[in-house]
């Protein structure tokens, strides 16, 4: 029997981002990945930037002046924001993925109540903590720059 042509319907990256009508955990999933990639990119750049010190003091001081530009300060603030979300959401994921906050198996009775409902208070608590950490850090960051 000849092989029929098929259409590859895999969503790819659009599967992360697209869809619509998703729940808040889905958006946390997307943001966790994006912030994780952002923090990783920052670490790689950080290693490159600090390794310039090995090439001599003149390059190092010149680079310091260059990195004082406002655009890099905004970049640092974005890294801090990403860290605030990633760290607190990461704590939630560790607890959830170790089975602590998803509940025990139950008889499914309509309307169904899933583990998403069970872990929702933890999710909201972690987001509040992330927001408090972000607010305090933001004040310190911009206030420190103004001084």
């Amino acid at each position: 029997m000849p092989e029929l042509k098929r259409h590859d319907n895999r969503l790819g990256i659009w599967g992360w981002l697209g869809g619509g009508r998703w729940g808040m955990e889905r958006y946390a999933y997307i943001l966790h990945r994006v912030t994780g990639l952002g923090i990783l990119a920052y670490f790689l750049m950080h290693i490159c930037v600090t390794s310039l010190r090995a090439w001599g003091i003149y390059l190092w001081t010149g680079e310091g002046a260059f990195l004082d530009a406002p655009v890099f300060k905004v970049g640092e603030f974005l890294v801090f924001s990403a860290f605030a979300f990633h760290a607190f959401n990461g704590v939630r994921l560790i607890l959830v993925e170790l089975g602590f906050a998803v509940g025990k198996p139950i008889e499914p009775v309509y309307p169904y109540k899933s583990s998403l409902h069970v872990q929702r208070p933890l999710f909201l608590a972690m987001m509040v903590l992330a927001a408090v950490f972000f607010a305090a850090g933001s004040y310190e960051f911009w206030h420190g720059l103004a001084r």
Partner: protein, 279 residues
């Protein structure tokens, strides 16, 4: 939302079509369907096939949310066509497409073979050392109601693939085992009759296994049977971590109680009536 049950309203069905002999890629065809309250998407598709275009193809069987054949992408969300009422998800427009993350064979039919291959590879059945007894059982295995509840929720899975279509990890990693097969790993691993735990855990803990899940939760959100694959997967991760740390409680598969007629009967239980067939 829909007070007058006798009233009929036109809904535009935007249906994805794909004919492999003719089309290079899927196209969308729009049909005007008269819809009354309570009408399901499956009934709408039947109306199209009977009255507007007989060439429309989809897969269905039971019409009551049991067989899991009619999984589709309904207004961007995976669901069963047979237990989704049109007015619950659509006003004047409804998009109907094949489940994503699978190849499309024709129109609304996804190729589910990759999912079932992964599922079969994880030995989704009770594994016993006494294999001969499994084929010709001569007694009961002891299991308490509490032990049954540890996996009962996950036995309701109808393999409709809605969870696989909703999974964002599967969207970028075709090798990922996916919510349905992994939930079934958990279903059999916690079954006290089973002895295949180690083999399944090795497969589930491998590179494209359970740790690719990061709890987007979509599988549980779209599951039409309340199986909650995300919960099963998190419990499975816990098992793997405890196993790695040598903290897991190891227990042998439960023993068989007795053969037919060899056990002692509880005198409180009345005798069964005489057999009418095969006496």
């Amino acid at each position: 939302m829909w007070e007058n049950v006798a009233e009929v309203r036109e809904v535009a069905f935007h249906v994805t079509r794909f004919t492999p002999e003719r089309d290079v890629k899927p196209r969308v065809q729009t049909f005007q369907v008269p819809v009354r309250a309570g009408m399901t998407v499956l009934e709408g598709l039947h109306y199209i096939k009977e009255n507007l275009d007989s060439s429309l193809v989809w897969r269905y069987s039971c019409r009551m949310g049991v067989c899991g054949s009619c999984g589709m992408l309904l207004n961007g969300r995976p669901g069963l066509a047979c237990n989704t009422q049109i007015f619950d998800i659509a006003g004047t427009d409804l998009t109907v497409g094949p489940l994503p993350n699978f190849d499309v064979v024709r129109d609304l039919i996804p190729d589910l073979v990759p999912m079932f291959s992964k599922h079969a590879g994880l030995r989704p059945h009770v594994v016993r050392e006494d294999a001969a007894d499994q084929d010709d059982p001569a007694g009961e295995y002891f299991q308490t109601p509490a032990q049954l509840e540890e996996f009962l929720q996950f036995t309701y899975c109808i393999k409709c693939a809605c969870c696989m279509a909703a999974c964002p990890t599967l969207a970028t990693d075709a090798g990922y085992l996916g919510p349905m097969p992994l939930a079934q790993v958990q279903r059999y691993n916690v079954d006290t009759r089973d002895g295949g735990r180690g083999e399944r855990l090795a497969a589930a803990g491998a590179a494209h296994g359970v740790f690719r899940c990061h709890y987007a939760g979509e599988c549980s959100r779209v599951c039409p049977k309340g199986v909650d694959p995300a919960k099963a997967i998190q419990h499975l991760k816990r098992q793997l971590v405890l196993d790695y740390l040598h903290l897991a409680r190891r227990q042998k598969p439960c023993a068989k109680q007795h053969g037919p007629g060899k056990g002692t009967r509880d005198p409180q239980i009345p005798a069964s009536p005489p057999r009418t067939i095969g006496a």
